[in-house]
Symmetry: C2
Subunit: 365 residues, 2 copies
């Protein structure tokens, strides 16, 4: 895949929602923004991570905020341009290539609009390999790239540059700015050269999202269950393992806005009435799935709640009572399972007591 | 006065508290920081406003936050240096002279520490002519100087640069950062050249603060009432008019933290029991003094609550039941009474219904 075209955007949005594991913001909104830009400026060049030029100035970008707010506070479209321009102004460096900081949700698609307008290539990679709720939860950070300067922009033209000692402080300050900007902002951060990007990024995640979308639409065309096609497909990728960990009906959702995040739990009554309910905990993204005390899957592995019929991932802000769902879990690649990575986004980083056992790697599996 | 020396700091702190009109942060804290720097690096050159070089890069700086927090969250001492350095880094311009953005409280003294360390002159002027609670409430803003970029720093080394369309938005964002930084930050803003500074600044306010301190200590030495000496002194300055508007005992204080400010009211029972109580409204600073519905003084004119014996101004965060006080009101200079200035910091800007009648200028005076 050498470019992202208009024809890819529907699949990308479907795949981004699944990689978003319930969070990352509604990919439909990012798709609209990207579609307008690509229609006007043409396809976006997609560069495989290992083909990035070592000397390129690479910059990551995306949206920050509570997904529940994004669907009511739509982007004007050029917020990200302003964040990236402010980063360039402040560092005196010109950006050669963009990389999404997150694979999933609005952040797979939103950088494409800016890339199309500025004729910048996008690296086929990202810094989370999925969606996470905090900006320090990045492989970029795990492997030593400073988050700062972080540029934060809003739709009113307000821009702020944040310089802090570490990525967690940058998250704290940038989140404060985001709240002040109405709960949704657009940020540029983790500037690095191409050589570094190769070492610290999760590869292939833009094309992966598009392929995931194709698998879902292919299954629907063939009237197969999308979740089964996805489980087979993931086994052929560098994510290696996936499983259908449960099916049922959403019976309870407790969700509120806390400190700029959507947090809560979702209860799913399984179709097999003899099984216990499945409980999914949420902080913007789905963090863990447990059943009668047993951990079915836990962060950083992906947990996506799919509409049983369409295979579309249901984001946390769109969960409703009565939805019939399949729970898909996917093991993350090795680069996201090292001690450095797990210290940032393993179960403990989210206050969960469960140890991390990669999907399909428990002793009794 | 050509320099601010160690010997001036006590008087400066006393005068800054009176110009602070209850706010601006405890000048004692700023004095400690300035004293350490001047002891090590020598006196700070004080340049009369009309002698500023037209081509100088002038930058204003000071502390932002709730005064109640400042007395518990003491500065490390070099926060302002970081704000100014970040402003220089981001604009690519080197600062030739500093100007306090506020006359009063911690902000008369705090810039001196940085000036001593960096061997920068300080203009004998400021942008408020007193203390005000919001960064858009500046003569700089009234007469067309953009507030941005605004650099905001804290004691942990966190720095943020804010770019917005107008000063009120900059206030909103910088206040959000300040809250996130624990309620107290240090900022640099309103960069301008020397020619502009001459046009838009309230002149003479650093030396005025020092002189006010001398008047108070002189009165105490002579066992005179400080407030009476102050009323006589102000008549000889460009502030022109002052008055003792009441004397009494503090009987009630309602004060709380709202959105990063200290707001509330103070009730003063007059010694003459036949008079109604005086009520002073507060937003960091004293905004109005009324007695039985009659306005005694109102913002932007200064209202300072002085300890009856020592003449020391009592800041809002140090007001206590039973304090015996004199209320001093001072008319502000012409540059602060134009329609442009009153739109930013007249009674209406604070939600007060009283029209602004400059002290001593009412028809029945």
């Amino acid at each position: 895949m050498e470019a992202v075209t208009l024809a890819d955007l529907d699949d990308l949005a479907v795949g981004a929602a699944i990689l978003g594991t319930g969070g990352g913001g509604d990919p439909y909104i990012g798709k609209l923004v990207a579609r307008a830009a690509i229609a006007e400026h043409g396809p976006v060049q997609l560069v495989p991570l290992d083909q990035a030029n070592d000397d390129w100035q690479v910059l990551s970008c995306g949206a920050m905020g509570a997904p529940t707010i994004l669907i009511e506070k739509l982007p004007q479209g050029e917020e990200m341009d302003q964040a990236v321009a402010a980063w360039e102004r402040c560092t005196g460096r010109a950006v050669d290539a963009l990389i999404p900081f997150e694979a999933g949700g609005v952040n797979s698609t939103a950088p494409l609009a800016l890339a199309a307008r500025r004729k910048l290539p996008v690296l086929d990679a990202d810094g989370m390999g999925r969606a996470f709720p905090r900006l320090e939860m990045e492989t970029f950070n795990a492997y030593g790239v400073p988050a700062c300067p972080v540029a934060v922009a809003d739709e009113k033209g307000n821009v702020s540059i944040v310089e802090t000692g570490d990525a967690a402080q940058a998250e704290w300050i940038a989140r404060g700015l985001t709240i002040r900007m109405g709960g949704q902002s657009y940020i540029a951060n983790y500037g690095m050269d191409g050589r570094t990007a190769k070492r610290v990024s999760v590869p292939g995640t833009v094309s992966l999202a598009i392929e995931i979308g194709r698998v879902v639409s292919g299954a629907k065309r063939r009237r197969e269950r999308p979740v089964e096609a996805l489980v087979s497909y993931f086994a052929t990728t560098h994510y290696e393992a996936a499983a259908l960990i449960g099916s049922g009906k959403v019976t309870d959702i407790a969700r509120r806005e806390v400190n700029g995040w959507s947090v809560g739990t979702v209860r799913i009554e399984t179709f097999d009435k003899e099984d216990a309910d499945i409980e999914v905990t949420i902080q913007n993204e789905n963090l863990s799935a447990t059943q009668g005390g047993r951990v079915l899957a836990v962060v950083p592995d992906l947990i996506s709640i799919l509409d049983r019929d369409t295979g579309a991932a249901i984001s946390t802000e769109r969960l409703r009572y009565g939805q019939r769902v399949d729970l898909l879990a996917v093991r993350v690649p090795e680069i996201m399972r090292t001690p450095e990575a797990l210290a940032l986004f393993g179960p403990k980083a989210f206050g969960l007591d469960h140890p991390y056992v990669p999907l399909g790697m428990a002793k009794d599996d």
